[in-house]
Symmetry: D2
Subunit: 264 residues, 4 copies
């Protein structure tokens, strides 16, 4: 099996310089440990907890930033889409379109995304069982596009809390599609700060290490040079400076896991 892929970047795209700084740092860190790197950044946070949360750059400017990262650093890029009309223009720039967890059952969005031919990363809804994702993936696959990834990002567990069920990783892998562990959103506390989501970034390495030991195709990790001042998801993003050490451990575990696959 291929070594671990790392999908990483800031929650929100902020500027060309910022995106390229993070992408450049991460590319170097990934190359140092032999991981494939995909840059992640959002152009619109369409479902903030409250209206006062910052939305982001918008699609046009966001795609321009993503295109800048691609041309400057020659790395694939991933971004999330929220409406059918966004799928085609975003797919002209992004290598991977991501379906947000809340929207993972919206049939028309899944079909429109699939029809672009881009790779589609579907986040598992916080309200779904791992086995429910087979039907979700089938919606995309019905377009003839089988370049699908399925991402675990935690499941509702009481109020304002998620739990990551490690069983979901091999269960979703039974679909035949690569499985991704979103280590930073799984430690979110949705709505936990009243007007915004809280989180506990110290648990993101817990999620990443556990998932890689079970065996995943990729980890998804949001990172920022100054999370506490980031426009969104600061409480759960990992500090950029902490990524190289984390990636080194993950790749060591990944080698063992890939040599000893768990297959259901």
């Amino acid at each position: 099996d291929a070594p671990l892929t790392v999908i990483a970047g800031p929650c929100q795209l902020e500027s060309d310089d910022h995106a390229q700084m993070i992408a450049g740092t991460m590319k170097e860190a990934c190359e140092a440990v032999g991981a494939q790197f995909i840059f992640k950044g959002s152009f619109d946070k369409a479902n903030r907890t409250s209206l006062s949360g910052k939305r982001g750059l918008g699609m046009d400017q966001g795609l321009s930033v993503l295109a800048g990262v691609k041309s400057a650093l020659d790395v694939p890029v991933l971004t999330d889409i929220h409406e059918i009309a966004q799928c085609a223009p975003v797919a002209e720039v992004a290598d991977v379109l991501q379906i947000p967890a809340f929207l993972c059952r919206q049939t028309d969005l899944l079909l429109a995304a699939g029809e672009t031919g881009a790779a589609i990363n579907i986040k598992k809804g916080q309200f779904l069982a791992p086995w429910d994702m087979a039907n979700v993936a089938d919606k995309v696959a019905s377009t003839g596009n089988h370049r699908i990834l399925l991402t675990e990002r935690g499941v509702s567990f009481g109020y304002n809390t998620l739990v990551a069920d490690m069983r979901s990783l091999p269960q979703m892998a039974q679909t035949g599609y690569p499985v991704v562990m979103d280590a930073t959103h799984a430690v979110q506390q949705p709505g936990g700060l009243g007007g915004a989501s809280g989180g506990k970034r110290e648990f993101a390495p817990v999620m990443a290490r556990a998932a890689v030991a079970v065996g995943v195709a990729a980890v998804f990790i949001e990172t920022h040079q100054d999370p506490d001042n980031a426009p969104s998801d600061g409480p759960n993003m990992i500090r950029l400076q902490d990524m190289p050490a984390l990636l080194s451990v993950l790749m060591d575990i990944d080698r063992i896991a890939k040599s000893n696959p768990i297959i259901l």
Copy 2:
């Protein structure tokens, strides 16, 4: 406080005749017990469990059916919308626009709905706490539209199961907006049939009676003359013939509850 309102109808709109038959039967049953009636019917099931589930009549034909119900029976009608572009045309016919639970955090949809000036019924996401709905309602209210209803329809409880937390009713009422109990979706078993959601219709009266005893402005109940052959949500819809007896009990309980309000 006003007597209980009953929001009822089939999960999917099927035809003019079918809608008017159900609306007529329900109107009569509601009048018999002194309940206000709002007819409910969906023109598109946009987030079916699997691609093979029936989607519905579509917006144009669905709105025509709803308009027919209004003119034939002189009752207000409610339907759910899934995309920004649907808000304005749907609001020309529907008295109440409903935001589906999965979409209750989509800021642009909430704003577009609010801007129509129609009443907006927001279903609480299966992944949200009751207190999270204050921020959700604020998004609609920011448009100047305060005709908002908040609906409990169950919260994720393990896999493929929901639980209805009766504490959420007075908690959501703290927003000042009327609270609705969705008695039939709260007994869904999401994805419980593999390719479709299951449910236990025998528990819908449990939910309705419990909620009315706590005190709610309205109950939301999907009903069908032949649920087992309905195109969607059959396992949890109540048989149309069973509605009059249920409504009679609910109104008796409602009188007691309204005379003895629980206010947090």
Copy 3:
């Protein structure tokens, strides 16, 4: 069906005077509304959150207090037992032995309790499904003692939180045994205060009203004249002075529910 029974009293027995004051007040309040009354009080809190929580009077003194309530007021009394050796002596005084929720799967305790011939009230464990209680009741019934009650007191829902699933009431009633709603423990927040359990007494009437509307044989409500200074469970006990008004509403709802039973 018989009118609602009310099982009520302080969490901990404190003294003869205190027990008889509460029992007398409750007996009068129940007689005023036509409810049967059973006095409840614990002699030992054997599973406090932390070691610093007060344990109670102990078995000998506790039984003496319970005997005093019986002789002074002529009401049946209920108390909980924690060890096999307590069953026989406690059954000489108490009309109902109660199995605590954490202990509801301990086979030997259930058998010893059953063998006393007293009525046995089994609290459903916070870790059990309603249908699991059939096996639990069978353990007691195997002794030939079928005087069994099954009590809902909430189920684990994330960390430090319980939720009361109203479906459990008719589900447990399928065993044929009377079902009780424990309205005050269902609103506990286990461990929610760090060294003690928290709770939200304002939700206890929510639970009681909802359950009675669905249909139960009895409600279980802990009450105290000064809950905030009670030795245990203060945050969720109902003020004694608030009980008559609550009972009046419950009896009104009970009449409707008993005339319209929900039977699965």
Copy 4:
């Protein structure tokens, strides 16, 4: 940090020969990979789902079997206790007394166990948060006995299901006591077979690998040469023949984890 300890054995003790066969096989497998080994076996299953489940050998015969394992193989042994009176006699044979999860809040049992001076392994209740275990451990520590282990074995997640929250491992480690992952009970489906608990043994390696990657002092794994015919917990026990390969992977992951500890 010390290399991983493996606590393993059958759910129930069956006979001298059986216990020594499993203990011998496991001792050899642990020595081969450099793990410390503790033999585990229960003499009484005191909380079977239903009365028809097999209880076990009983204390006297069980202790004799454990003593035989110790003398024949020179390995420490662990067994669980359910009543205060069992603590002292069991501690004469067993090196580790285990408090069952359902009983982890029973103050007197914790104190009696602590007073033996034996090491005490406390299973975290399915109804507790990780941070609740600090109060639990304090009860044992109040006896002056600080030889305490804390075990994660899954937390209630809806009905008949557990989920293992990997965050609990470093959270419980904040107490300063060694943390154990019970990989086989965490994949139980309590009551899932109606009259007995179900389970999914294929997920036990998922739990073990994930936990070891996060960092634990020990894993607890029930194993049997023929789980499908074992008297209890067959669905979740790992086949004895599969243990050496699993242990080899776990030790490889453990080396990485212990070199890169996660400390909150």
